[in-house]
């Protein structure tokens, strides 16, 4: 199994999760994070860290699309291992449903 980041992360990207991951398996896009499913050890320590509750285990129903999305982008976005400030308008996007329309496929600027 693996954990996966869902659309709730988009434009919020609080990065509390990356700080606790023991294997540094988060990857950063311009406005979202993803988990590398092959590197995730399923320990679950990131799940409660996310203020947006964006991280789910793939044992939950209907998570296949999120695992696929995490797989795709974790292979092209850069690794992130330290917490950073969230986007200035993160609060505005907090809790908003159906954010997939806003996902940026671009990697985070380093």
């Amino acid at each position: 199994m693996t954990y996966a980041v869902t659309e709730a992360c988009i434009r919020c990207k609080y990065t509390d999760c990356v700080e606790v991951c023991p294997v540094d398996c988060f990857y950063e896009g311009e406005n979202m994070l993803v988990i590398h499913p092959d590197e995730c050890i399923d320990c679950g320590v990131c799940e409660p860290e996310c203020p947006e509750e964006a991280i789910v285990p793939d044992t939950e129903p209907n998570t296949e699309q999120w695992v696929a999305l995490n797989q795709k982008y974790s292979e092209i976005w850069p690794n992130i291992t330290e917490r950073k400030d969230p986007p200035a308008d993160a609060d505005v996007w907090s809790g908003k449903p159906d954010k997939m329309d806003y996902i940026s496929p671009s990697p985070a600027s380093t």
């Binding site: 199994m1 023991p22 050890i41 399923d42 320990c43 679950g44 320590v45 799940e47 291992t81």
Partner: protein
């Protein structure tokens, strides 16, 4: 219950070695990382889950067999090595792994660990060393460093801790290795070497207990800093370390100990030591390297070809030559 696995071993993936049981270690536990690596290794080894047995004692680590689709045996505290010995003698065709923590292997079962190693039974012993009693909520363990404050040592532990690698070498182990939980590109290779060794293989896996002993191994199992805090051993290769591979170990023949040098300052008369995993004296010197001051050796520290127990006892053949009838007549 899991269904009995199919025999098409060529098609097995890491997921095929997972069980249907909910994993109940604390979130963030290093045991998850070891389980992940082990499933990958089992798929690579390519034996059917019903040809493999995991035997465990008591402790957090000892939950390991529940989470694999292989056979498993959750035995009593410290006795996993003894039970595993029996399993291997009863059916030498099985791959037998023993999993335990530092309490199980070094304290309660210290004697069984010793005898399994000196007998050289063809089993793989994996010590998940988190230097704390996690399952009972954080008392100091035999591998806890001096000064460890815990419910049972409120003033700090004053006992000298067990060095597990030194213990294994002293017990006569012919295969001794060390790895760290979260170093997922390194750990699987060590586990494969342990499996390939014919005889008792001892692997100390430095494992972080996030709840009761977080950060016990400092930079060692932190991927970003590990290259400065560890030296990765490769047989026949110079012992260099550091992110830039700018430091190395020199063996001082006068003191019989390793010294750290920076390659830029290497004197003309010194040479970086080449790792020879068959050299027992060097293995003992490697066992002494600890943080701070030295990089902690990871990889196969010592490996000596030796006749394993079943063969030495003349039980050669696929199974015990004592069939059921003969055993009955003995009784």
């Amino acid at each position: 219950m899991n269904e009995m696995p199919v025999k098409d071993v060529t098609a097995l993936t890491a997921n095929d070695f997972g069980s249907d049981q909910e994993v109940r270690w604390c979130p963030g536990c290093g045991d998850y990382a070891i389980l992940k690596a082990m499933k990958t290794v089992l798929a690579d080894i390519g034996r059917s889950p019903d040809d493999i047995v995991f035997v465990a004692g008591i402790g957090c680590a000892a939950r390991f067999p529940y989470y694999l689709s292989t056979y498993g045996f959750h035995t009593i505290h410290g006795r996993a090595a003894a039970v595993a010995t029996g399993v291997k003698l009863a059916n030498p065709e099985l791959d037998v792994w023993v999993v335990g923590g530092d309490g199980d292997f070094m304290s309660i079962g210290g004697n069984h660990t010793l005898h399994a190693l000196r007998r050289n039974v063809d089993i793989n012993l994996l010590l998940f060393n988190n230097a704390i009693y996690g399952l009972t909520k954080g008392q100091y363990s035999p591998t806890s460093p001096v000064g460890t404050r815990s419910p049972s040592t409120p003033g700090g532990s004053v006992e000298a801790p067990v060095n597990a690698v030194r213990f294994a070498l002293g017990a006569g182990a012919r295969f001794v290795a060390r790895a760290a939980d979260t170093l997922q590109t390194h750990l699987p290779g060590v586990l494969k070497r342990a499996h390939a060794n014919k005889g008792a293989s001892f692997v100390e896996i430095l494992q972080n207990c996030l709840v009761y002993n977080d950060g016990a191994f400092g930079a060692i199992n932190d991927r970003s800093q590990s290259h400065e805090a560890t030296v990765r051993l490769e047989h026949g290769q110079p012992m260099v370390f550091g992110k830039e591979e700018d430091k190395g170990l020199v063996f001082n023949n006068e003191t019989g100990a390793f010294e750290v040098v920076t390659l830029a300052d290497l004197k003309s008369e010194d040479t970086i030591a080449i790792h020879d995993e068959t050299n027992f004296v060097r293995a003992q010197a490697l066992a002494e390297l600890e943080q701070p001051g030295f990089p902690v050796p990871l990889g196969v520290i010592y490996a000596e070809a030796a006749t394993e127990f079943v063969e030495a006892r003349g039980f050669s053949g696929t199974k015990s030559k004592w069939g059921r009838e003969e055993l009955k007549s003995l009784i």
